[in-house]
């Protein structure tokens, strides 16, 4: 058995399913002749994620939504549904050989990936190119790596490896940055934020340290940088000087800066998070919700780790209480400083109740509730859930009238076209306008 194949087994079939999904999401409608099962399984996960929990869907609607929102060609959809039906993730009603409707029966939580993983174990066989792509993507999910080191670590054949990197670059699921005379390969799903800093740091040191640092940070999302610097540790885990440098660079030079809170009693603190995974379809709204979630975690961490008088013992319990009651049961003198960033982001309000005491209340909107849910999973599991699901696609799938969905899709197409189809004259006018703005 080749080294790659062994790696594949080590990967675990559930993780393989997740990686297939990431690669396929980034590929979109680009076709890679070498990939077959990888794309099929990736698409199956994508469909499953979007139909989970929905009632019966007419096939015609599913076809439209898959094509338009999920980049899944209509001709491939029956194959994907056959796969999902085989693992009982869907029940199909058919007339002769035509699929009429699809009833989702997709399991929740990680059981989705485990279910597809079981299919991979028993039914799927990946080509050597696919195996290598999955192994590369998986290693790079933990940290970017030096290209030569990566090839050596995977024990991959030079020609095969080169072609695979080429596919990755063209398909958009790999990115190469050159730093300090070395080619650093990045998995953009995990490291599109501040990619340059990560790449440069890996070129200067090594990827194992970065991977270890991020894994620690994942368990302690929103830990304050100043506290890490003072103790040279995150909670009880020691941080090496090199790792600290990376954290400082992220806070100082990063394009995406970590949230910060300034208080009179503990100064200005940056709260650190692992980079946001960017599924290709991460909508601006999801990104905003994610930013709100990080702000919530930061405010709660401030109360937990850098309080003046009122310390928070369990961040998860506080977030959970906020989600349930949309307010905290007591008023304190610290809330006005601790939660002021949340007021700025329109997440909550500070109500003055006398002297220096303030009460904190959440503004009751769907976005804020979703941000609280996301904040809760950040402090409990360190991971983000639901980022991979396109809410518009779900809304369209919930419609029972194919004509209506068709009109939704058509409107969307129109919008897209409007944004790109400028006439030459319009382009000229636009460039003039821009010149005026920048002059």
């Amino acid at each position: 058995m080749s080294k790659i194949a062994t790696d594949q087994i080590k990967l675990g079939s559930a993780i393989t399913a997740a990686r297939c999904h990431e690669v396929q999401t980034t590929l979109g409608q680009r076709d890679v002749p070498e990939f077959d099962q990888l794309v099929l399984i990736g698409m199956a996960v994508r469909v499953a994620l979007h139909i989970r929990g929905l009632p019966l869907i007419e096939y015609e609607i599913l076809k439209l939504v898959c094509n338009h929102y999920l980049d899944i060609p209509s001709t491939v959809l029956p194959r994907i549904l056959a796969l999902l039906s085989e693992i009982e993730f869907v029940y199909l009603t058919t007339k002769r050989k035509t699929i009429k409707s699809v009833l989702p029966n997709v399991p929740y939580y990680d059981d989705l990936y485990r279910g597809v993983g079981d299919y991979i174990d028993t039914e799927a066989s990946f080509t050597e190119q696919e195996q290598l792509a999955l192994a590369i993507v998986n290693r790079l999910a933990a940290a970017p790596d030096n290209s030569d080191r990566l090839q050596a670590a995977l024990g991959a054949d030079q020609k095969l490896y080169r072609r695979n990197i080429q596919i990755g670059l063209e398909g958009g699921f790999l990115v190469v940055r050159r730093h300090r005379g070395r080619d650093i390969i990045i998995n953009p799903v995990y490291f599109s934020e501040n990619a340059e800093i990560f790449a440069d740091h890996v070129a200067a040191t090594n990827s194992a340290d970065v991977a270890q640092l991020l894994s620690t940070l994942k368990q302690h999302q929103g830990w304050p940088l100043e506290l890490i610097k003072a103790n040279a540790r995150i909670d009880r885990i020691d941080i090496k000087p090199d790792q600290l440098i990376l954290l400082e660079r992220l806070a100082q030079e990063g394009m995406i800066k970590p949230p910060a809170i300034a208080t009179t009693y503990s100064g200005k603190n940056h709260f650190l998070f692992t980079p946001t995974p960017t599924a290709a379809n991460l909508s601006p709204l999801k990104r905003e919700i994610h930013e709100r979630a990080m702000a919530i975690v930061s405010a709660v961490r401030q109360g937990q780790l850098l309080p003046q008088q009122y310390s928070i013992r369990s961040p998860a319990a506080v977030i959970s209480a906020l989600r349930r009651n949309l307010r905290l049961s007591r008023a304190t003198t610290e809330f006005s400083q601790q939660y002021k960033s949340l007021v700025r982001l329109r997440i909550g309000q500070l109500i003055h109740v006398g002297n220096d005491y303030y009460e904190f209340r959440i503004i009751d909107t769907e976005e804020n509730k979703e941000a609280l849910d996301m904040a809760y999973s950040l402090v409990t599991t360190g991971e983000y859930e639901g980022l991979e699901v396109d809410d518009e696609a779900r809304r369209a799938l919930l419609q029972s009238d194919p004509d209506y969905v068709e009109s939704l899709v058509a409107a969307e197409h129109l919008r897209q076209r409007e944004s790109v189809s400028l006439t030459e004259e319009q382009e000229y006018q636009l460039s003039n306008l821009l010149l005026k703005v920048t002059s």
Partner: protein, 366 residues
């Protein structure tokens, strides 16, 4: 028996179903904690309805149907009030024969007790005015003859008498949704060797337990949702669901300790593994219900409607289709629950398959 006061019962039953409430006929009241070896039957309720309610889960309504002229109307109301208290029901309706004169003072006194007194023809007016109908919808469940056949199933298949007794009596004395779920599974597991999918009555019995199982599970789901919405992680749901199934943390701890004692071997962190059948699938089913917990409250009615269809050799499914299409998740919940029960009770696969086929078919638009 059903044959007595049949017209009133038929009207009350049809009304309950047309309102979308979960019905039970000839419900035998047993004490929740019996002092005798064999539970003593206190009395019975002619027609019972459980109305899905977004705030409280289900609200109970009891119907008393009396055809004769003997008992005074207000005496019936007093008796019904006692039953209502016993069952925590909010409303009682006495449907009396048309010949019966109901004095205004009786109506007034009954009204004070939360009981409405009316004759059969008044009941028709009442049904129309409250958006229900006492005329029989095209529903298998609203056919009172089928209920008669069901109650007598034990005469033809004595081994199924336990299922009928459970459905009419013991089930309704169970305190919580979790109890109802566990006892429903246990009953099917006990009947496992007897149930034969080739016999229509056996399919009815399976479907009936399925409906009762869903009735308990919908209550659990409703309560879970109010407290936790949709738990974000599998571990969180796992941690809260198991104690719910055993009626609270205390009872759960007791079961846990007993399991440890019986197994006589220590486990990691001192926790015993409670053998809840097919726990993973059950957890997924419960999580699924949390996507639409209010619709889940309507699922038991659909399950029982489909169960009753097996009384007929070539049934129609108009009413079931109407239910499944008006609340689009109910058909799926029924299908998932049928699959779960079939596996958990290790029944021949034809049981779940036959029901699943219908649950799927009724959801598909024409």
């Amino acid at each position: 028996m059903i044959i007595n006061d049949r017209r009133q019962k038929q009207a009350a039953l049809a009304y309950v179903i047309s309102k979308g409430w979960f019905p039970q006929i000839e419900l035998i009241i047993q004490p929740p904690r019996s002092a005798n070896r064999k539970p003593y039957e206190i009395t019975d309720i002619d027609v019972y309805g459980a109305a899905p309610d977004e705030l409280s889960g289900y609200r109970s309504i009891v119907f008393d149907c009396k055809g004769g002229r003997q008992a005074s109307a207000v005496t019936r109301a007093m008796w019904l009030k006692g039953l209502m208290t016993y069952l925590d029901a909010e409303w009682g309706i006495c449907v009396l024969a048309d010949q019966k004169m109901i004095p205004s003072d009786h109506r007034e006194a009954a009204g004070e007790l939360g009981v409405s007194l009316m004759t059969l023809s008044e009941f028709d007016v009442f049904a129309q005015a409250t958006d229900g109908s006492s005329e029989m919808p095209i529903s298998h469940l609203a056919n009172i003859d089928h209920w008669g056949t069901y109650i007598k199933i034990g005469e033809k298949y004595p081994q199924l008498q336990a299922a009928v007794d459970f459905s009419r009596g013991k089930y309704w004395a169970l305190a919580s949704g979790g109890d109802a779920v566990r006892h429903s599974i246990t009953l099917l597991r006990q009947l496992r060797g007897e149930l034969d999918p080739a016999k229509r009555e056996h399919l009815v019995a399976f479907g009936d337990v399925l409906a009762l199982f869903l009735f308990g599970l919908a209550k659990v789901g409703h309560r879970l949702f109010r407290a936790y919405l949709q738990p974000a992680s599998r571990n969180e749901l796992d941690a809260v669901l198991l104690p719910y199934m055993y009626g609270g943390r205390e009872s759960y701890s007791l079961v846990e300790q007993l399991t440890l004692l019986i197994e006589r071997r220590p486990r990691l962190h001192g926790q015993a593994e409670i053998a809840f059948p097919e726990w993973d699938s059950f957890l997924q089913l419960t999580r699924s219900l949390l996507d639409a917990p209010m619709q889940a409250l309507a699922a038991p009615l659909l399950a029982r409607e489909v169960a009753w269809s097996f009384f007929e050799s070539s049934p129609g499914f108009e009413f079931a289709q109407m239910l499944a299409r008006s609340k689009r998740q109910t058909g799926k919940f029924c299908l998932q629950a049928a699959k779960y029960l079939g596996t958990a009770a290790k029944l021949p696969p034809e049981f779940a398959d036959q029901f699943s086929r219908i649950f799927l078919m009724i959801q598909v638009p024409d």
